[in-house]
């Protein structure tokens, strides 16, 4: 049977490198992406926590949202673009400091999550009135449509997903990256700067999706492919596939949209109330505020928790969770955590039974397997604060 995948799947600018390094390519978010390299998921995962793992995340949705009137050297311009975006997200965007990044969520009218995303205010004084936003690859067309419709005529969206976006994560990431971006060592967690690499304009942010210290870099495609090649030559660096990306973020207790987050789930249920800064709760000026504030006040019906199977069988997404003979929840992300040498999972549990330490059963292949509710993360974060 003819293989039609190559006609329909997109490729990032690093595709040739993935092939050269022996990546096992699968479909993800409409792209051909490496799920692992010859080292394998477990080794790639452990390498990242010990050294520096390099991830191609160019399939994601980086973009710029700019005032229709353009950028200017005026903090009031930031106020204007932030006020526009705050009609769609419940976080404090106006209060972002220059060069500060923040995790937030796009909400629907019912207070459910349409995507999770990171919004960054440019550091550069003369570049105010613009926001650098990264959304999930699988949701980028939806999200950009939402921005376009809501902000038509008042802000312009420029997609940047033709560039390279890569992540370098792990304790050696700073040492490796500072050979190319010396100023990156001065960034703290969730800080971002425009940096030049031989004339190429790059956005370097100290953030990631592994729980480790590390950076994400947006860089023009050709310069990006050349830089990633050099980084992979460093003995501290290995290429890491999507399989290990998933096991790393699961150990770190981080949500994956479409699994742990969805339009039915509110930020309160998802244990993301912290993305809604106090004055925005008080102003109640975001979509779905009634439901969200009701849940903050009275507690949500269900909550996202960590789940630790007590035996060796992993429990995957969709596994029913029992308390006695009552179904009290479901697993939304599950697998094996190489750094804790144990199965790990996250899911939603009826609030009445959601306390860490609660003993539960997971129905895996028709048999009840013992587990307990666990605090997140499974592996402590090592952000440079």
């Amino acid at each position: 049977m003819a293989d039609t995948t190559q006609d329909t799947l997109k490729r990032t600018a690093l595709y040739d490198l993935h092939v050269e390094y022996g990546g096992k390519l699968v479909e993800f978010a409409g792209y051909e992406m490496p799920v692992q390299f010859p080292a394998g998921v477990k080794d790639e995962h452990l390498w990242t926590r010990a050294n520096a793992g390099l991830f191609d995340v160019s399939h994601m949705g980086p973009c710029f949202l700019t005032l229709a009137s353009g950028v200017r050297k005026d903090p009031a311009a930031h106020e204007e673009i932030a006020a526009l975006v705050e009609t769609l997200v419940p976080s404090d965007i106006r209060g972002l400091k220059p060069g500060q990044a923040r995790l937030t969520v796009l909400l629907n009218a019912e207070g459910g999550i349409l995507d999770d995303l990171i919004i960054t205010r440019p550091y550069e004084e003369d570049h105010q009135g613009e926001l650098y936003i990264v959304v999930n690859g699988a949701m980028k067309e939806q999200d950009w449509g939402i921005f376009g419709t809501a902000l038509a005529g008042r802000a312009q969206l420029t997609r940047a997903d033709g560039r390279v976006l890569f992540a370098l994560q792990g304790p050696k990431a700073e040492k490796v990256l500072s050979a190319y971006f010396p100023d990156c060592a001065g960034l703290k967690f969730m800080e971002s700067r425009l940096m030049l690499l031989e004339g190429a304009r790059c956005i370097v942010s100290r953030c990631g999706y592994t729980g480790e210290d590390g950076f994400e870099v947006l860089i023009p495609a050709d310069a990006g492919a050349a830089l990633v090649r050099l980084l992979l030559d460093d003995p501290c660096v290995r290429p890491i596939g999507l399989g290990a990306r998933d096991s790393l973020r699961l150990e770190a207790g981080l949500c994956l949209y479409g699994h742990d987050l969805s339009p039915e789930i509110s930020p309160v249920e998802a244990d993301l109330t912290w993305v809604i800064q106090k004055h925005r709760r008080e102003a109640a000026n975001f979509p779905g505020a009634a439901r969200i504030l009701g849940e903050i006040k009275g507690g949500p019906a269900r909550r996202r928790v960590g789940i630790r199977p007590l035996e060796r069988a992993p429990a995957r997404e969709g596994t029913e969770i029992f308390y006695g003979d009552k179904v009290i929840g479901v697993v939304t992300s599950g697998g094996f955590g190489p750094s804790v040498d144990s199965p790990v999972a996250m899911g939603y549990i009826d609030t009445a039974h959601a306390a860490p330490g609660t003993k539960i059963d997971l129905m895996v292949r028709g048999k009840a397997r013992p587990a307990e509710i666990a605090d997140l993360p499974f592996v402590p974060a090592r952000y440079k604060r």
């Binding site: 799920v35 692992q36 394998g40 998921v41 477990k42 080794d43 995962h45 399989g243 290990a244 998933d246 096991s247 060796r312 069988a313 992993p314 995957r316 697998g335 094996f336 190489p338 199965p343 292949r365």
Partner: protein, 123 residues
């Protein structure tokens, strides 16, 4: 003793009317790092093609199918503590079960080593 292979990458080493069953090195390579193996209870009965075991890698679970009909007389308890043996020694130490064959005529439907090797090359 003769070893036979299936298109689903199981092997069975037969001596008289008992067989030792596992998955091939090729299958273990495709699965990646094995973190858990779920085996049936001794005494369980299977028809050829039934899923009788599950192998879990970091990323996903995969069913393992019975190459022949039979009943389980022994399971490899060592795999519970050392699932990674499947990646290290798939066709020797990492056997899954020993079975009593219900019908040795079923073996004629399986491949020998040469045929299985050729089959894998064509994949």
């Amino acid at each position: 003793m003769t070893t036979y292979y299936t298109k689903d990458h199981e092997w069975i080493r037969v001596e008289g009317d008992t067989g030792t069953v596992g998955i091939t090195t090729y299958a273990a390579g495709q699965l990646g790092d094995v973190v858990y193996v779920e085996l049936p209870e001794p005494g369980s009965k299977f028809a050829r093609g039934d899923d009788f075991a599950v192998v879990e890698s970091v990323k996903a679970a995969s069913d393992v199918y019975a190459p022949v009909s039979g009943s389980v007389v022994e399971v490899n308890a060592g795999l519970a503590d050392a699932p990674e043996t499947v990646n290290e020694a798939a066709e020797e130490g990492a056997w899954f079960v020993r079975v009593k064959l219900a019908d040795s005529a079923e073996l004629s439907g399986l491949m020998d080593k040469a045929a299985y090797t050729a089959f894998c090359e064509g994949l």
